[in-house]
Amino acid sequence: MTVDASSPPIIHAVPLRHPWRWVAAIVIIILVLLFLYGAATNEAYGWATFRKYLFDQRISRGAWNTIQLTIYSMLLGLVLGVILAVMRLSPNPVFKSVSWVYLWIFRGTPIYVQLVFWGLFPTLYKNIQLGVPFGPSFFHLDLQNLSIPFILAFVGLGLNEAAYLAEIIRAGISSVPEGQSEASTALGMSWGLAMWRTVLPQAMRVIIPPTGNEFISMLKTTSLVTAIPYSHELYGEQRNIAAVIFQPIPLLLVAATWYLVITSILMVGQHYLERYFSRGISRTLTDKQLEALAKAQMPGEGHI
């Protein structure tokens, strides 16, 4: 093979035209402008009320409660989700079935129905006792005297979320090559130790991006805790105000704005998280591995 010394001229081709893209874009822009004009001039939107309540203290407190609900329920969901996923994949048939039944119930019924049920929990069970049946009691919790809607709200959300996170974690665990657990087994590790030391750390790369999605999704799902009923999160507070001043539309827009802002912040965070984890695989591998391979292929590197 011979190499031609003179490189061929760079191609200057006439680019393809896309007239219909322009037409579509212009039509959409006109429609959006018309809608915005309509909305701005429509009294029913109540923009004055919107501005008045956008930074109302009750709304921002509601937003804070929403964030807290999201964090607590996701934490509960994660801990329980890992346990459920590991149980589902364990060789123990009892663990497997318990996990399967849990997922079946919590994924098979709507979250709203579950939340209503948790709201009725204190009616079903007047108090919680821990002790020997028909014997002495060590721990006693009266569900009637406690104001526990917040606890019921995040427990209800967390128990439901655990079922979905369990599936995500299970997919992550399954993505780790079989050779990894085999190598651990061959070194004399027990199933649990291999899971904890070898498989789960590697599964994290696959688990984290969809868990970020679930986090964002949970932020919005918290609006359903009105079913408990718990009404001190963003959606509930907005409704409380709207019920007093008889103006539901501007307050809904206030809540929507807050949700959108918080979600956007989370999305930015997720973007960086995902980039970090995908970079972990591709870049470090290529650069350093190529270097190592180049070294290894040099003659005289063979040892001993």
């Binding site: 027990s190 750390p201 590697q202």
Partner: protein, 262 residues
């Protein structure tokens, strides 16, 4: 079947008595009988699907034997025999048996999220409860033995295939096994990296490590092995002194196979 090689001590390191393995209707091993004395090197060769890897995996109970008996250093593998009945072995005891049997895989199976040192000290610390300082010292010794001292802090992905396999060998040796199993340790390597792995294995053999090696490297077999076993279709077709078997195979199957790989 047993090769007359080194002086046999009282208990053989590996004793297989008509070992069978089937997956439902598929019979992979159809009665394999062999013996490996302490300090011996046995090389298993044969076409793919002949059951040689499965047999190797049975020895540390990664696969369950379905008939016959398999003993390592006198211990029945995978089962407990009480009054003529076999009982399934609790996972804890199976794990205990595996501690003393090192295994090296075709695809290395190093832990990608741990450094080279981390890979080697993992099992000693968490399985054998060795103190970290002692484990690290031993790991550095082993890395020195396989010629990779300068790679201690590297991650597996930063190493070449040959280097990864040498780390895998060091990782297995860190448990001080009485027996080493090699499952096609050089098959996934580029040709020019095969030599560095074989060199490490030759050195181990010369130090008296008992080894069972599944490989296609006939040169290694001729040079290092005390016994060569040719398997096909789940049975041992021919076994004996490697130089004799390679030079003068008795069976048609062996002749046909050797003519293709040599």
């Amino acid at each position: 079947m047993t090769a007359a090689a080194k002086t046999p001590s009282t208990t053989p390191m590996v004793l297989a008595e008509r070992v069978c393995k089937d997956y439902g209707a598929l019979q992979v091993l159809k009665g394999v009988t062999l013996e490996v004395q302490k300090g011996q090197v046995l090389v298993l060769v044969g076409p793919s699907g002949s059951g040689k890897s499965t047999f190797l995996r049975c020895i540390n109970h990664l696969e369950e034997v379905t008939a016959g008996r398999l003993y390592v250093d006198g211990d029945l593998i995978g089962y407990r025999e009480r009054g003529g009945t076999l009982h399934e072995m609790p996972p804890r005891e199976a794990a205990k048996q595996r501690r003393d049997i090192g295994m090296v895989f075709q695809h290395f199976n190093l832990f990608p999220h741990r450094t080279v040192l981390g890979n080697i000290i993992e099992a000693p610390i968490h399985v054998k409860r060795v103190k970290k300082a002692a484990a690290l010292e031993r790991a550095r010794d082993l890395l020195d033995q396989v010629g990779l001292s300068e790679k201690a802090e590297a991650y597996p992905a930063q190493l070449s295939g040959g280097q990864q396999q040498r780390v895998a060998i060091a990782r297995a040796l860190a448990m001080n096994p009485k027996l080493m199993l090699f499952d096609e340790p050089t098959s996934a390597l580029d040709p020019e990296l095969v030599g560095e792995v074989l060199d490490v294995m030759k050195k181990l053999a010369s130090e008296g490590v008992t080894m069972l090696v599944v490989t296609h490297e006939m040169g290694f077999a001729r040079e290092v092995a005390d016994q060569l076993v040719f398997m096909d279709g789940g049975v041992i077709v021919e076994a004996g002194n490697p130089r004799e078997v390679l030079k003068n195979p008795q069976h048609e199957r062996t002749k046909a196979f050797l003519s293709k790989v040599m």
